[in-house]
Homo-oligomer: 515 residues x 2
């Protein structure tokens, strides 16, 4: 049974075969499944750039911008028909700790407090050095979007669940598209236009460990796996992976959290699938915290995807109204608790909850959100009721405990403290007492995948074998894990994407040119 | 910038170079970091077996046994000086739903109820088809250890936290060594003796996707990374990875759960490190639920590792005594809740908890555990107090609320229902009222890593690229993920290991012989 032949080291093989330089290596170095046509390091590349950015959301565009500005040649690849990914349908809120608007409004805040909020939401599973960087850069990042990109924000701050204070900037149109549009504009000015319908098929990692380019499918038509034509693009400095999360990848998300079956809705765009993340793992990236997948608590069963209900449920109701369980007429959670606590609470009490507000809360929403409120009403997601009684009747909600819940909250408004749930009270908080009332039904939806590729503060992807950087590969945004720990705090995704996208772009641009 | 050369498919390359059959492939197929000496598919193997089993705990030994009995040639590789891994220091309890002992004792149980308990503890993150298999095979598995391996169990059932009923068999010596010893004995009879001090260095996966053997270090001295001599063992049918968890791998565990720093103790043996798991990911296994790492709630700060306190804290106290927070004198958790709930509760109230019981509870422990109780006392882990007052004084515990806590529990014993925490009451439950009292301090310790490699019910490792089986690779035991979901129910690890170890062994033996 024992074969006596001497073991041969790879170095010996290289001597025999002429080695990597001659384009030949030993059989055993290959390792992938049976597809004989699968990606290899091509003898010839179809195109060459210093930097190949995969993905065109906040992170990818920020990376491309910094890299190009630093003098590198850059191509941005996007698999969908239009750029922007989830970023373009994001709610357009970005936290800044220590901002000029906070100073103006007398809000006491600090990067350390933002970090603390992130860690609390993240159940202290955050990779703290990554989270710290995002928090401490938060105001710089937001100011950069204003001064460098020309993003326009509203003139008041808002507050998401889990934040100690109102610190969120909101784009003028209450959408991430306000940022993406500016990113695309500024990139165009310096000569970079994302190529759409280009699928990443392979990250090409060579024998020396470096990622040297990508195999792609041009004219790819999502989600047809084999559509498009194969090409190879060489990345002389680095590949930056900014392909987003996998909230709409049923297979990958159910492996990590089997509850999140196809029956569950998602707020994500259809392209939020995990093939690029799988590819990153295939070439040796370290997986981190994949099983933490966030549900947005403010979804509505009366519209598809993210929809518009989050604006109403959060701004009008979590800040100025209440969330109640219609089976009991009672509040069931701190409406400004983090997303996980609220989503879990809605599921726990049996998915029969509504968000509602009175005429005053609605007016604040209208002032802040304008058209959006009209659209929400048009869609029938939010309904108007002439009286509290009418609203209660519409949801079969017992009126007496509902009245009591409101009275208790109003007492808290008067005394300055929400005794029942400890909710942060706004400076302009008023009693809930003025008809008409407005309400929407709540349904948690798959929203954000906290886990992904393990990176360091330089946005370098780390190797599963030894936790050292993989040469030539940077990752940024939702495709990475660790920044948010177990639960992402609202309005920190954009920060995460912009911060690490910029770092990835800058570092990639000064990475060595290998060939 | 654009290179016009035509993209070359790997099939073209194979034509040019002579292809895999000639031992040559294209450069690009290689993908690992810069070590030029790293594993390649060797031209000659030092040894050949049908099946190479890596790891010699419950799972590895069960796999080797089934494979060998099915006619395959088998080698078992163990990196430590002695076989057995964590299994040999495990507490020796195994759940069986629908067992003869349950029938004798009139305990109503079913595989479905065990499954339900596993899913509840697992927060429904379990891969249900894997968990179901373990639960439904539980009695068969335990009876197999008795009838086929000759394992000796005590004549009474016990109950761990999270189980609806007492259904745990306990080995005669209250240690997994009673099972491992029999496994080793039976394996020896059929000619298989684990080779110790053999480190798995590489899983060798070929261009056709199949795992065809392993690169090892013989005469390896843990934990010296580069000790020993490199050899290659060919696996004509399959490699079975049964290398256990990574509870003692500080780097890997803090990537997944940054709270679990080096400052935290573990119950695991020193070899419970993650290099084999990393290697599995490197060659394309799918990661699953790595960030769920279990703390054992019943550790003691007064002894190292797993120690003996779990026996006392669980059997004498969680079943027949109480767990209290010494700062308040009150119970703080259902003492039979699952491990996560209890560990989290201890941490939440500030790590000042004790487990205690009275003379009656201690007597039951002595009857069940014999010598072990004497050892625990000798070590000073458990201390004896002449009176409740003396015990309270020793831990600075306020006596009045402590008395009240006991009185409340005793009322529950009389009425048949624990009103305060809803704990399952034993058939022979008695009031806690008889001096002397016995107590130990509680400290959660890193105990089990729920996540690992994704497998199917055939114990095949699944490919990160497409979720299909990786030919020639099976995984079993703690190196896999999914069976236990978020939180492993006590006494189900042994079941998991034995069940999937046996499946892996049987399937590997009838796998095709590739060469």
């Amino acid at each position: 049974m024992k074969e006596k032949a001497k073991a041969v080291s790879r170095r010996d093989f290289l001597k025999v075969t002429g080695g990597a330089a001659a384009g030949i290596a030993v059989t055993g170095m290959a390792w992938r499944p049976g597809e004989a046509e699968a990606a290899a390091m091509p003898k010839k590349w179809n195109e060459t750039f210093d930097i190949v950015v995969v993905g065109s959301g906040f992170a990818g565009l920020a990376a491309a911008y910094e890299a190009k500005k630093a003098g590198a040649s850059v191509v941005v690849l996007e698999k969908m028909r239009t750029p922007g990914g989830n970023s373009i349908i994001n709610g357009g809120v970005v936290s800044a700790a220590g901002s000029p608007m906070e100073a103006r409004d007398g809000i006491k805040d600090s990067p350390e407090l933002l970090l603390k909020d992130m860690l609390t939401a993240g159940l202290n599973l955050n990779h703290i050095e990554l989270a710290r960087l995002v928090a401490y850069e938060s105001n710089n990042t937001v100011q950069w979007t204003i001064n460098e990109l020309g993003v326009k924000y509203k003139d008041s701050l808002s507050q998401e669940g889990g934040h100690s204070v109102p610190r969120m900037y909101s784009t003028y149109n209450q959408s991430g598209s306000a940022i993406v549009t500016q990113q695309l504009e500024k990139l165009k000015e310096i000569g970079v236009v994302p190529r759409t319908q280009v699928l990443l098929k392979r990250l090409l990692r060579d024998t020396d460990g470096r990622v040297k380019g990508v195999e792609i499918r041009e004219k790819y038509v999502f989600p047809k796996e084999n559509s498009g034509a194969t090409k190879f693009i060489k990345a002389k400095k680095a590949v930056i992976l900014a392909t987003g999360g996998f909230g709409n990848d049923i297979a990958l998300r159910t492996i990590q959290d089997p509850r999140l079956t196809a029956g569950l809705e998602s707020t994500n765009h259809p392209g939020a699938t995990g093939e690029a993340l799988r590819e990153a793992f295939r070439i040796g990236c370290t997986p981190v915290q994949l099983s933490w997948i966030q549900l947005g608590p403010w979804g509505s069963p009366d519209e598809k995807g993210m929809g518009l209900n989050p604006f109403f449920a959060q701004l009008c109701c979590a800040m100025y109204g209440l969330w109640v369980d219609t089976q009991t007429g009672k509040r069931f959670v701190n409406e400004l608790a983090d997303r996980k606590i609220r989503a879990d609470a809605i599921i726990r009490v049996g998915n029969k909850c509504i968000a509602f507000t009175d005429a005053n809360g609605f007016a604040i929403g209208q002032k802040m959100l304008g058209d959006i409120m009209a659209k929400i009403m048009e869609r029938g997601v939010v309904k108007r009721y002439d009286s509290l009684e009418a609203m209660a009747a519409a949801y079969n909600c017992p009126i007496a405990p509902l009245r009591e819940s409101i009275a208790n909250f109003n007492k808290g408004v008067a005394s300055g403290k929400d005794e029942e749930w400890g909710r942060y009270l706004q400076k302009n908080q008023r009693a809930i007492d003025t008809a008409p009332y407005y309400a929407s039904r709540l349904m948690p939806k798959v929203h954000h995948t906290m886990g992904g590729v393990n990176i360091n503060v330089e946005a370098q992807a780390l190797n599963v074998e030894d936790d050292k950087p993989i040469p030539g590969l940077y990752c940024a945004g939702e495709v990475t894990g660790g920044v948010h720990g177990a639960v992402r705090l609202g309005s920190c995704a954009t920060l995460d994407c912009l911060t690490f996208g910029r770092i990835a772009g800058r570092n990639a641009a000064r990475d060595k040119t290998w060939g």
